[in-house]
Symmetry: C2
Subunit: 147 residues, 2 copies
DNA sequence: ATGATATACGTGCATATACACGCATAGTTC
DNA sequence: GAACTATGCGTGTATATGCACGTATATCAT
């Protein structure tokens, strides 16, 4: 017996996680031609834009757990898209920089990302996307408040 | 140099993933006393409600990749909250059932889940939660359409 | 009955996520 | 300058996520 797909849950968390998985599929699919996932593109584009910076600072920018970021950086470094060097001003820090190959990859991936962005905006409408930014901020505020 | 926390991204996917991580922190925190994560509670509560069913059907209900679900079930089975038995009508299927210990766990966890639900609703407002259900449906539709 | 197709299931692999530790160095206070 | 505190970093462990495969059984078409 085969059960059909299901409606949204009554649990906000479950719904948000479902939405997250769904949109990730959309973006990952769009980035498939350059063999990048949206998580990797996101990190790479941020390193490209925010210049050399430490993993702690990058984690704060991405609102991602630092130790999670450390592992995510591994694959990007293995692929030769970023490199790390000891920071002179503070020996504890390691400065993360994008490489030339990394910069080229970002350039190649950007149009695919734009396409996914457009696809989602066309389907959801810009109002929904605006509400989404509010949602993020509210939830992060609540989460920070609790922790 | 320490960089402060960041505003929402211009990328809808990144924002949704951020929101997902934030709300997961909130629910996981609420469920901490019973040592369950929201992902596990979600699966367990669904098994409890939807009675014995196959992993494929449960995956469709949860809109979760079947192979992902299979691993998630492992820890619940190891904890003794669910059990699997071969299905008589179709030897390929395995019927997943909640155990007595599982049922007790759901009972114990439910008030904590309700508390998280309430907390989020108080902070975001019911209108935002309603928009969220629309968002889930739209994104899953778009994702299905593309795939 | 046979062959094609659909469905069910599990595992290997890669990545994502985050908590709990421990170690090293910077900064602050006395 | 010594003690305390804050910050930066990486790893161990556990879970979450999904794609690519291979295997087994059901179902359907002829």
């Amino acid at each position: 017996m085969k059960i059909p797909n299901q409606n949204p849950s009554i649990c906000s968390c479950v719904n948000l996680r479902r939405a997250s998985r769904a949109i990730t599929r959309i973006y990952d699919k769009a980035l498939e031609p350059v063999d990048l996932k949206i998580t990797q593109y996101s990190v790479l584009a941020n390193v490209a834009r925010s210049g050399p910076l430490s993993s702690s600072n990058l984690a704060r920018i991405l609102r991602l757990d630092r130790t999670t970021l450390v592992r995510n950086l591994k694959s990007l470094e293995a692929a030769g898209f970023i490199e790390e060097h000891p920071e002179v001003t503070d020996p504890r820090e390691r400065a993360i920089r994008i490489t030339e190959a990394g910069r080229q990859m970002v350039e190649k991936a950007r149009p695919l990302w734009v396409q996914a962005q457009q696809q989602v905006e066309d389907h959801l409408g810009s109002a929904a996307l605006q509400q989404l930014t509010t949602l993020v901020t509210s939830l992060e505020t609540l989460s920070d408040h609790i922790a």
